[in-house]
C-alpha cells in the first residue's frame, strides 16, 4: 500500500485531500464530521471581520457538470467563529482558516484571530469584492494583494496561502504580487450565469455566480501547471476534483495537495476515503512510492 502522507508548507497531512472553502464548513460539527470522514484537513468558510448574512436563495443552481453559486460570503464575523474552530479542531487534524476582507487591516485582524483560534494556516480568499475599484476584486489589484500579504506575514506565524481567482487576464501578475505567500491555491470559481428560459430570468438571486465542479477542472489544471512552472511555488490545486484520476492529474500538474468542494455534493462525503483508495492503488500499479514523487512530473 502506497503511503499517502505528505506535508504542505510544513503542515503534516495524512493524505493530500482537503475540504475546499465554502462547502460544509460553516458549522464546527460539520467540519469535524468531514475530518472524521477522511479529509486530511478542512478549510473553513471564508470569514470576514463583520457578520454577513449573504444573498437570499436561490444561492446555487445545478448546471450540467457543475454548480453555479452566489452565496454572498455569509459568515458570522471572526469574533463569533471561535466556537466553530474549537469544535472542528476536536478531530485532531489541521483546520485552515479562510479569510477575506477589503483592506490589509481587515485581513490582518481576521488572520490574527484565526491564528489564536488554532488555525494551522491562513488561506486568503482574494476573490471578494473590492470597494475602491467598483466591480473588481481584491485579487485583481496587485498592489493591494502585495500589501495584504506583506502585512499579514509580519503579524502571524502560521503559513499564509493565497487563493487566486481564475477570472484574470494574467495570473502571473497577481502571483508576483502575492509572491510572499507560502503557497498558492488555484482556483476559485469561474464567473458564470444560468438563465431559466421558462421563468425568463437568471436563476441565482444575485444573477451572476461562480462555476465550480467538473466543468472547471481543466481550467484549474492549467493554472496549477502554469503557476508551478512559472513560479516554482508550493501549489494547492482545487476545481472539479471528483475522482482519484482528477486528484493525480492536479498533483502531476504541480499541486502538492488538493482541495475538494463540489465533489462532496456529487459524490458525498465518502469522496475522501474513496479518492484515497484510488490514489493508493494507482501509485501501487505505477510503482510510485510517495505523493511528493508525483508532484509536477507532467510539467515540461
Amino acid at each position: 500500500m502506497a503511503n499517502l502522507k505528505t506535508t504542505i508548507t510544513g503542515i503534516g497531512l495524512e493524505n493530500p485531500l482537503m475540504l475546499a472553502s465554502g462547502i460544509l464548513d460553516e458549522n464546527g460539527y460539520t467540519m469535524k464530521n468531514i475530518l472524521e470522514s477522511g479529509a486530511a484537513a478542512v478549510v473553513t468558510k471564508s470569514i470576514s471581520r463583520s457578520e454577513r448574512t449573504g444573498y437570499r436563495p436561490p444561492i446555487v443552481a445545478e448546471v450540467p457538470h457543475g454548480l453555479l453559486n452566489a452565496v454572498g460570503l455569509p459568515n458570522p464575523g471572526i469574533d463569533n467563529f471561535g466556537n466553530e474552530m474549537r469544535i472542528a479542531r476536536e478531530a485532531g487534524k489541521p483546520v485552515i482558516g479562510s479569510i477575506f476582507g477589503g483592506t490589509a487591516e481587515e485581513f490582518t485582524y481576521v488572520g490574527r484571530k484565526m491564528e489564536e483560534y488554532g488555525a494551522s494556516a491562513l488561506e486568503l480568499n482574494l476573490s471578494c469584492p473590492h470597494v475602491v475599484g467598483v466591480g473588481s476584486e481584491v485579487g485583481s489589484d496587485p498592489e493591494l494583494v502585495e500589501e495584504i500579504i506583506a502585512e499579514l506575514k509580519g503579524k502571524v506565524r502560521i503559513p499564509v496561502w493565497a487563493k487566486l481567482s481564475p477570472n484574470v487576464t494574467d495570473i502571473l501578475e497577481v502571483a508576483e504580487a502575492a509572491g510572499k505567500a507560502d503557497a498558492f491555491v488555484v482556483i476559485n470559481t469561474v464567473r458564470g450565469m444560468a438563465i431559466d428560459i421558462h421563468a425568463r430570468r437568471p436563476v441565482l438571486s444575485n444573477s451572476y455566480g461562480g462555476l465550480s465542479g467538473r466543468a472547471v477542472k481543466n481550467v484549474g489544471i492549467r493554472y496549477t501547471y502554469q503557476l508551478y512552472k512559472e513560479t516554482g511555488k508550493v501549489i494547492i490545486g482545487v476545481g472539479g476534483i471528483e475522482t482519484h484520476e482528477d486528484a493525480v492529474e492536479y498533483i502531476m500538474a504541480g499541486a502538492s495537495a488538493v482541495e475538494i468542494g463540489t465533489g462532496v455534493y456529487t459524490r458525498g462525503k465518502t469522496i475522501f476515503p474513496e479518492i484515497c483508495r484510488g490514489i493508493s492503488s494507482f501509485m501501487d500499479s505505477e510503482e510510485i512510492s510517495s505523493i511528493k514523487d508525483m508532484v509536477g512530473v507532467a510539467v515540461q
Binding site: 464548513d25 460539520t30 468558510k45 436563495p57 452565496v71 455569509p74
Partner: protein, 247 residues
C-alpha cells in the same frame, strides 16, 4: 429548474393552501423540493402529495411562502428536487404527530389505520385533521379553541403509546424536542422530520446542519435513536450568517 403548471389549488386553512401539479417522477414521503418564486426567493417545502399528481401544502409566512400561497391554477411553478430521505416503513398502527405546517410532510403517511395528533395555534389552523377518522384524531390547540389546550406533547399524554408500532413527527424543532424528551424513556420508536434553515438543499452550504449531518441530504428524517444523543437538536442552530444561537 423543473417547472410544471398548477392544476388545482386547495385552501386548507386561512393561511395554508395546497398546490397540485403534474410531475412525472417517483418521490417518497418525507422528501422535499426547493420551490422558487422568481423575484421572491427559494424555500424548502415537503411533498404532501406523492402520487402521480404531486402537491405541496404551504403556510403563509414571509414573502416567498406568501407569494406561493397566492399562485393560481394554470400558473407555472418552479422547483428542483426531490431531495432528502424518507421515513422508515412499519407494520401495525402508527401515530402521526404534526404541528402547524408540519402536517404537510406527514400527509402521505396517513392511512385508515393511522391515529393523528394534530396541533396548531388555533382551531382554524388545524391542518389535515379531517384526514383522520374522528375517533382516531387528537386535536391540540395552543389557545384551546379545539381539542386539548396546549402543545402537541399534551396530546400524547392522553394516548397509550404502547398501542402504536411507530410514531411519525413533524413540526417546529422545539415541538419535536418536547416530543422526543417525552418519549425518550418510552418503548415507542419514532421518526422525526426536521425543519431548519435551508439555503441550498443539496448539501453544500451547511446552513441546515445538525451534529455534522445535513438535514437536506442526510435528513430531513431522523430516527429517535439518532436524536437522543444529539448535541445540537433542540438546542442550537446557526443563524443566516452562521452565528451559533440558542434555539
Amino acid at each position: 429548474m423543473i417547472h410544471s403548471i398548477i392544476e388545482r389549488v386547495d385552501r386548507e386553512t386561512p393561511t395554508t393552501v395546497s398546490l397540485l401539479f403534474p410531475w412525472d417522477r417517483d418521490v417518497l414521503p418525507g422528501q422535499f423540493i426547493m420551490v422558487w418564486i422568481p423575484g421572491f426567493g427559494e424555500i424548502p417545502i415537503s411533498l404532501s402529495y406523492t402520487g402521480k399528481i404531486k402537491g405541496i401544502t404551504v403556510k403563509r409566512f414571509g414573502p416567498t411562502s406568501t407569494a406561493l400561497t397566492e399562485l393560481k391554477a394554470g400558473e407555472k411553478i418552479f422547483f428542483r428536487g426531490p431531495y432528502g430521505n424518507t421515513f422508515r416503513k412499519t407494520g401495525g398502527e402508527t401515530l402521526i404527530v404534526g404541528g402547524g405546517s408540519g402536517m404537510a410532510g406527514l400527509l402521505p403517511l396517513i392511512t385508515s389505520g393511522s391515529h393523528g395528533v394534530v396541533s396548531a395555534r388555533t382551531r382554524t389552523e388545524l391542518l389535515f385533521a379531517d384526514r383522520f377518522s374522528p375517533e382516531r384524531l387528537t386535536a391540540v390547540t395552543d389557545d384551546g379553541s379545539e381539542g386539548i389546550k396546549g402543545f402537541a406533547v399534551e396530546g400524547l399524554k392522553h394516548l397509550d403509546l404502547d398501542e402504536f408500532s411507530m410514531m411519525y413527527v413533524c413540526g417546529p424543532e422545539l415541538m419535536l424536542k418536547s416530543v422526543l424528551d417525552y418519549i425518550s424513556d418510552k418503548k415507542i420508536d419514532a421518526d422525526f422530520s426536521l425543519e431548519r434553515q435551508m439555503k441550498c438543499g443539496i448539501g453544500v452550504c451547511d446552513s441546515c446542519s445538525m451534529d455534522g449531518l445535513q438535514l437536506c441530504t442526510q435528513g430531513p428524517v431522523f430516527p429517535k435513536a439518532r436524536l437522543l444523543n444529539s448535541r445540537e437538536f433542540g438546542r442550537e442552530k446557526l443563524s443566516l450568517s452562521g452565528k451559533r444561537e440558542k434555539l
